[in-house]
Amino acid sequence: MIKEKILGKYLVLFMFALLLNINAKETQPIKILEPQTNTVFQKNTLTVVVKIIDKNIDKIKIYSNNGTIYENNITKKRDTYCTLVSLDFGENTIFVRAYSKGKKRFESLIESYYKFPVYKRYKYSPKGYENNYFHTTKNEKACKKCHKMNSNEKKGFAFLDPKESNCYNCHQSLLKYQDAHAPAVNWVCSTCHEKTHSKLTKYPVPLEINKACIHCHKKFQQSFRSKKYKHDPVIIGICDRCHNPHSSPNKYFIRLTPNKLCTSCHEGKGRTTKKEGTNCAASSESSCVKCHNPHASDKPYFYEPGRQDKKKDKPRGLWLE
């Protein structure tokens, strides 16, 4: 009995010793403020924000999913560093490593998911991934030192010089492509990203995207309504399924080249682009749209009016020059 009692006492002592020992250990040398792990992104870039706690660290390397390495040399002037990292479709693992004098001191990994609404494979994020918003009051506090976190947009006025916008510095990568949407290029973000309906973030995406679109593109609404047959995305009102509201390398800001865009959903069941006896030449990039109107039509299968006379080879409809 006595032995056991002594054993128990020793055990308790040992635990306290452990506690003390753990307390003495040093803290993390860097802290990753953003992004949180397992977040879903709907754009092809993400910004990694790193805060340096240990002053001995002189280099940070970030390894993106596709193998590119981003290096940051640390100076004593500031303690937080933002790096723009490009993403691949689907799951991405990004490594953040901190070095001091050539030695690796710390490593951490960020997992994220690039959700792309066009491809079936990447349309839905898998379990465990969440939508995390950046523009929360907690996050903005950390950024306030270097960035102006308030929108300086005058309601109803576009900037004379787009670089004046407070949004420009961080979000300019949204507009690197050739064809850009006018409100995005002029940085009047509030036309779509209004503050009202969400408590999670300051600048949410509108709940009903089609309403934001129709606010300017009223003509389309009228023309679509009068038509007999409508494309499903048009009926539901998810314009952003095919169009990128910021910028795109393709005309009309469509997310992929016309044929790829169509076949991303309409694959299989003989809906290939090559079909003998028709003038749907796969070589021409806009071949689907030559005969089908992507929005609405009075004819079944969204045929363009005047489709029947085969003699004319000229493209028809709104969507072509």
């Binding site: 009995m1 056991e4 009692k5 128990g8 055990l11 308790v12 635990m15 306290f16 452990l18 506690l19 753990i22 307390n23 250990k25 803290t27 993390q28 079936k120 494979r121 839905y124 898998p126 109803g156 006025f157 576009a158 900037f159 004379l160 850009a180 006018a182 409100p183 290029v185 002029n186 009047v188 036309t191 606010h215 300017c216 007999k228 047959y229 409508k230 499903d232 009926i235 299989g268 069941k269």
Partner: protein
């Protein structure tokens, strides 16, 4: 022993939980370890993309699609809204009917008032003619023959006073008195006149001589060469004896200056076309109520007046200056004479800016109009009609200040839209500007807005999605050359055009496209 083991386990749990709470690092590490292990376990069991496999068919077959009638669902949704709209429309209709009936009553009232005025004027005229000369015959027995009149009355003039003509001098003069020409009454002369003539001072507003009882200021009691025994050569001659500004009459404030370029015709012809001579119900001895509009429209509502015919009633859009509460016509015009065209009080543009120096509410659509005076002040490049008032007519070059069937009381049709069609006839801009500017695809003369030979106006204004003039140009004034706007409104947002002029061309970076530049001499190569 058993008790001790329990104690040990409890302490262990407490210690570990304390560690977890205090040392976040260890907690995360431990948690991470658990998560990673868990992931490894689950990954070993599951295929990572099992939800994409063919187990679940996400594709809907055509048969199923046929069953789902989406258009019907959409229509059902619509009809719910339609009923609401129809209900609202009915209400609007009812209100419109009520409004129409009210307008009718108003117009009838106005007509009745006018008729009353006419009748009153006629009565007034007849009253004057009804002079009872029989009174004279009854009273006076001694008549003086015309030959016996004193020398100063000879030769006799064209119009003679009735008693004077008959030689009944004793009606007015005292025959028994030694003093020649002494009047019968010791009181005012007026009392003598009003013995026969009806009173002229019944109405509220009186001519000063009438009020003072000085009939002889205008009338000669014996004879005259003008009608109604006036002292002047004509009515206007008589009036101007006192009311001319250049002839200084003491304490006379109500004068007019006729040494001016433009004179209102009735002023030259007859003052009595507008004014009453003795007394009147209305201010300034005017002939009709609300002096300016009703009176002016007695002449100016006739189509015969051609250019000076003013149609303010039967137009779609009326000018607030005429219809509203104010001086109406006299807000802008001088009723007598002026040095400015159309007898305006001031320079054409300045008269408009009298009121439009603040943002006013438009009667057309209830929106606020711009503060034009400030706009012209801050934007120095003016449209030619505004800068060259004498030639082009100022604001009235494009607007009809009396009312028009086109919006913004414009003289010809115009558009409010960003996109528009130019096939319509009578577009106001092309009254002065040549349409070649737009219609010619290649040109070297018609316009300066071209890249080499390529007409960039034509590019912007093609048939399908043509932009209107006002998309890029300000109609009134601008800070930039060629009246290029600072901002163009699209979708409720004002986008700057960012126009920069260079020696042989320029560049532009609006919301519509990226920065494009053009050059007339060394073309950059813009294509359609």
């Amino acid at each position: 022993m058993a008790k001790n083991i329990k104690l040990i386990i409890l302490t262990l749990i407490i210690v570990f939980s304390v560690i977890f709470f205090i040392k976040y690092d260890v907690g995360t590490k431990f948690g991470k370890f658990v998560v990673i292990m868990g992931n490894i376990m689950t990954n070993l069991q599951k295929d990572p993309h099992s939800y994409y496999t063919e187990g679940i068919d996400l594709d809907v077959s055509e048969e199923e699609l046929r069953d789902i009638n989406i258009t019907k669902i959409a229509e059902d949704f619509k009809t719910g809204q339609r009923e609401k709209i129809e209900g609202l429309l009915e209400k609007v209709k009812e209100l419109e009917i009520k409004l129409a009936s009210k307008n009718k009553l108003d117009s009838e009232l106005a007509k009745l008032q006018e008729e009353q005025e006419v009748i009153a004027m006629q009565e007034h005229a007849t009253e004057e003619k009804m002079l009872h000369h029989s009174k004279i015959d009854a009273k006076v027995t001694e008549l003086v023959k015309l030959e016996d009149l004193p020398q100063k009355f000879k030769p006799l003039k064209k119009y003679l006073h009735e008693p004077f003509k008959k030689g009944a001098c004793l009606i007015c003069h005292d025959g028994n008195s030694a003093e020649p020409g002494k009047l019968v009454t010791k009181k005012n002369i007026v009392a003598l006149c009003y013995k026969c003539h009806p009173r002229k001072d019944k109405q509220q507003y009186k001519h000063k001589p009438v009020e003072d009882g000085k009939c002889f200021k205008c009338h000669d009691p014996h004879q005259s060469n003008t009608k109604v025994l006036l002292k002047g050569k004509s009515v206007n001659n008589l009036c101007l004896k006192c009311h001319d500004k250049n002839k200084s009459v003491k304490d006379m404030k109500k004068t007019i200056n006729l040494n001016k370029k433009y004179i209102h015709k009735p002023v030259e012809k007859n003052c009595l076309e507008c004014h009453e001579h003795h007394n009147s119900k209305y201010k300034k001895l005017l002939k009709s109520k609300d002096g300016n509009l009703g009176l002016c429209m007695k002449c100016h509502n006739k189509r015969k007046m051609d250019k000076k015919w003013i149609n303010y009633k039967n137009v779609k859009y009326q000018h607030g200056a005429i219809v509203g509460k104010g001086k109406k016509c006299l807000e802008c015009h001088d009723p007598h004479a002026s040095n400015h065209k159309n007898i305006l009080k001031k320079d054409q543009v300045k008269t408009c800016l009298e009121c439009h120096n603040k943002s006013l509410k438009s009667d057309e659509d209830g929106q606020m109009m711009m503060n034009m005076a400030e706009h012209l002040k801050t934007h120095k490049n003016w449209h030619k009609p505004i800068s060259d008032v004498e030639k082009e007519g100022g604001c009235a070059g494009c607007h009809n200040p009396h009312g028009s069937n086109h919006f913004s009381i414009l003289k010809e049709s115009y558009t409010k839209k960003f996109y528009g069609d130019f096939s319509k006839k009578g577009f106001i801009c092309f009254k002065c500007h040549k349409i070649d500017k737009i219609k010619k695809e290649f040109t070297t003369k018609s316009t300066k807005f071209r890249d080499g030979k390529v007409n960039l106006h034509f590019l912007h204004i093609n048939d399908r999605k043509g932009r209107t003039c006002r998309a890029c140009h300000d109609e009134h004034a601008s800070k930039h050359p060629k009246l290029i706007r600072d901002y163009t409104v699209f979708g409720g947002v004002k986008f700057p055009l960012r126009y920069i002029e260079t020696k042989n061309g320029g560049s532009c970076q609006p919301a519509c496209h990226k920065k494009f530049s053009y050059d007339r001499v060394n073309p950059i190569g813009i294509k359609r």
